[in-house]
């Protein structure tokens, strides 16, 4: 498993390389990229803050959870921090498995869990204002 929290731009190649295996015919890559609008507002850029030590630990747990639940081969997760412009990659999840169905399911699950438990926050900056986005308060850990 490969887990990374970084202020540097995320390039998929090393992560794909990390999870790829000769016995695994499916490799799913999810990229969460910065969108130019939200709730009818024109977004200028996003700023991500993280609790890096804890975020890494939680990403690791989310990956372990997926590895235990689906017959997948390996997982790589990376999240960017700092200021991100429109179109830049904020979140990268790569999952390999022998067959595609498990890789899609596990990848989907991983992305959802990240948004629930990993201590990373984004601030949306638009024309004339800014706000920290808050996800749903978590009850289950």
């Amino acid at each position: 498993m490969l887990i990374e929290i970084t202020p540097e731009p995320l390039a998929p190649a090393p992560f794909l390389q990390h999870v790829r295996r000769d016995d695994s015919g499916a490799l799913v890559l999810f990229l969460g990229v910065v969108r130019n609008n939200n709730l009818g507002r024109r977004v200028l850029y996003l700023e991500y803050d993280a609790y890096p030590e804890m975020a890494k630990r939680k990403l690791w747990e989310v990956g372990e959870e997926a590895l235990a639940r689906w017959p997948i081969t390996d997982v790589a997760i990376a999240h960017r921090t700092g200021r991100l412009e429109i179109g830049e990659t904020a979140l990268l999840v790569a999952v390999s498995s022998p067959h595609r169905h498990d890789a899609f399911s596990a990848c989907h699950h991983i992305v959802n869990r990240i948004k629930e438990v990993v201590p990373i926050w984004k601030k949306e900056v638009w024309e004339g204002g800014e706000t920290w986005i808050e996800g749903e308060p978590v009850t289950e850990k």
Binding site: G32, Y51, M54, H79, P119, W121, E134, G135, K141
Partner: protein
């Protein structure tokens, strides 16, 4: 005893700092420390219903008892990834 309290995102901007080093009474709980801080910084209380607590980078329950040297964080609802949901 001492505790290091970390602030992130909206809380960091509100407090104007990433970290405070505080003297904490023996036997204090993590939510007790939060209430103490709310008395000093009333706007911190706005987050009361939505915060989670962490100690040494792990989620803990509000009644978790602090130990000397603990690293505490008050965690607002997280919003990683790119989309809202």
């Amino acid at each position: 005893m001492k505790a290091r309290v970390k602030f992130f995102a909206a809380l960091r901007e509100m407090m104007g700092t990433r970290e405070l080093n505080l003297e904490v009474a023996d036997g204090q709980t993590v939510s007790g420390l939060y209430r103490e801080l709310c008395a000093r910084f009333p706007r911190l209380g706005d987050y009361n219903s939505t915060l989670l607590y962490s100690v040494n980078a792990e989620y803990v329950s509000p009644d978790h008892t602090l130990r000397d040297g603990d690293e505490v964080a008050f965690i607002p609802p997280v919003s990683g990834g790119s989309g809202a949901h």
